[in-house]
Amino acid sequence: MATLELKGITKRFPGVLANDQVDLKVSSGEILGLLGENGAGKTTLMNILYGLYGADEGEILIDGEPQQFSGPGDAISAGIGMVHQHFMLVPVFSVTENVVLGVEPVGFGGVIDMKEAKKEVRDISKQYGLEVDPDAVIEDIPVGIQQRVEIIKVLFRHAEFLIFDEPTAVLTPQEVEEFFGILNGLKEAGKAIIFITHKLKEVLEVSDRIAVLRRGAMVGEAEPATATENDLATLMVGRPVELVVNKETSDPGAAVLEVRDLVVIGDRDQMALAGVSFDVRAGEIVGVAGVQGNGQTELVEALTGLRDVTSGTVKISGTEVTHATPRQIHGHSVAHVPEDRQRSGLVMPFTITENVVLDAYYEEPYSHGISMDWKAAREKAADLVEQYDVRTPSTEIPASSLSGGNQQKVIVAREFGRDVKLVIASQPTRGIDVGSIEYIHERIVEERDEGAALLIVSTELDEVLALSDRILVMFDGHIVAEYQGGSVTAAEIGLSMAGAAP
């Protein structure tokens, strides 16, 4: 029985106490849920455990033995495995190639023994119920499967202690369920697991013990059997939090967005959208539910001018915009919260100020002719930071140094911080903390109440259910079902998402 223990870990960054005397313990056959808002110091703590940072104080013990990690290599050989929130996979390599990267089994004459490697990958996936095709290329497989590859990678290196950093952030509800099955399988196989999340429901469902981190310090432990979501949320945020979205029933007006028979070809030349039609009316939130990869990404890209439309029409406020550029769409008072904030929503090395004007830099007051007015931009950024509660020491620091939740707030602030008639938001709360989710949800409802039309695409079923006045379910490029919000259960929608006729 192996035990991993952190004692009195303290880590200071200039001006910030990231970890303050943190104690933590996990043993074989146990799942420890580590709960905390983004910025609470979870990631720093795990980076220390993984050898990426040195702790200023405190020690790491494995089976009572103090450890000295000077890099991830040491941590890995001590049996620690980390599945990061952002996968560390080579997109053009196969599953097996990714798994063996750096620890390739070498055959005769220094040649990589791919056959042996493939066999091991198959064995591991069979043993832990991690179904993958060893020959599949990473860029071709869905996120959920990519995560399995990450897990196999860790198991391939004989990890006894597995750390999952926000593992469900990128998964569909079905994938989450499957993932929990995998977690339990790993637990039964005798692995010790640290499951980092900010999702209360999940941590209650799967953990054996729950530890809560706030502002760098351990503020309490909870038993899943007795704790409630509200207890945990209060512990985590430090104040009572509203977990349900409070909203009046909607009073929809005229159609703002009209989509007719939209056909779009995807990146792999597949038919991503096979003739989709729907309306979004003023003062209405339409949620699009569906398992990732069923055409939602392409739908949003087509509506925002980022992807070519093959056939069909799109109208905004009665004006045809089927083949409009992103800038023209922007000109129709459309806000777009993109699916992947780091890939396309933000320029990470840019400051908050520079990011705040990313899609409006060419307009007054941020520029006059070809000359930027950084004073105006800075003022706007300062306003938005204030108004949208972006936690940052300054508007002049790079977006990359903000936490995920604060990065998302910057995007929401930019998109909502002007007059909008139509909001197209994709995964608006992916991978961010409860406090920020609550905040962003309030803003979305506020926009509706001010008369905007909103199209919210999310793979988080709970989010779609909580926000939507009307719910569209996408499957394989079609809208397969439509429900009124409030009158439908997660189970019903889940069936439609899997392609079953309603």
């Binding site: 200039p14 990231a18 983004n38 980022l306 060419y362 070809i370 936690r391 020491p393």
Partner: protein, 410 residues
Amino acid sequence: MTDEPKGEAPPEMNGDADNGEKSGWAAFMDDLTGVNVDWRSAVLVPVLAMTAALAVSVLIIVASDIELWRSFSISALGDSFGQAGSAMWALLTGSLGSLAAVSSTLAFAAPLILAGLSVAIGFKAGLFNIGAEGQMLMGGMVAVALGITIDIPVFLNVPLAIIGAMIGGGIWGGIAGLLRARTGAHEVITTIMLNSIAGLAVVWMLSTKFFQPEGRLDPVSEDIAVSARLPRLLGFLDRSDVRVHLGIVVALIAAYAIYWVLFKSTIGYEFRAVGFNPNAAHYGGMRVTWLYTSVMALSGALAGLAGMAQINGLLYRASPGFAAGIGFDAISLALLGRSHPAGVVAAGFLFGALRAGGIEMQVATDVPVDLISVIQALVVVFIAAPALIRAIFRVKTGEEIGQLTTGWGT
């Protein structure tokens, strides 16, 4: 800048931990330039790299002294160090020791700065322009063509040469940009190829009757009109060895203009956005392919100016290879200057000083002029490997310079 982090939760520190707190002078520099830069590392690293490169050069001079190896003795070692010392002293006096030396440094610096800006603006937009050499040749040839055919007053002829050279270099650079935008052909490949084409095109052009002076068979062009020459800044001294000319002024104006474009204009904002994240740029409504073309055209125009500075400032005529590798030195310059116009200017003065000092070093000692290339290469090695600088000088220099350009085929 010195505000305490607001809100309750401390920010997650993923990047440079120093970001929140800049010292007074760094904050002042930010205000001055309007750019958020880690000034300590931006200034310290190049200075230390230069120091380290000179130190290693001294060791190289000592170690490559054949006499020392034939009969090793303390006094021979002393002689070798003495030789290295005089070489370094010659570098200093040859670049800064007299009016002629300073003017020579400035004359050499002008095309270096312009070409360095050319590469730097490419880096800022995520493009690796290896073609400054070819663009210099093309810009320079346009300047020559104008200079040998048109003789109008100097205040008209010089601007004409400047504009012509920018157009010539700009078209040559723009071709690579257009290929990148239209077909995805990587600019590294296309600019290398365009360098070869430009080099051979110059040889061919110089063998035509249009460029060749009557009676002469060498591939050397006719002299440009006196009115097309960049006026000597200290011409009133009437000293042929005081060579500093208007080109350095053109270079400094160009540096300020590029600074303004990059950090104060909408198009510069677009360049930088595309450089860091083309997806986000597309999301923000920018025409990414058009930007690639215009960045390469601007980059080429700057290189063309460098060719013009070479022709109209010093040579007054074209011969094959008049770009003299400046287009490649420019890559080092842009790295050394961290792709910032002010950095490129500083690096340009440095390399110009090395070139000017190199002549004096050759005259005064037996150290071959190739040492200058070695010093330049060493500076770049130390710049590209801040870890080395950190190890040698035990200083904190911030993060690595990071990815300068997008990868192959992306």
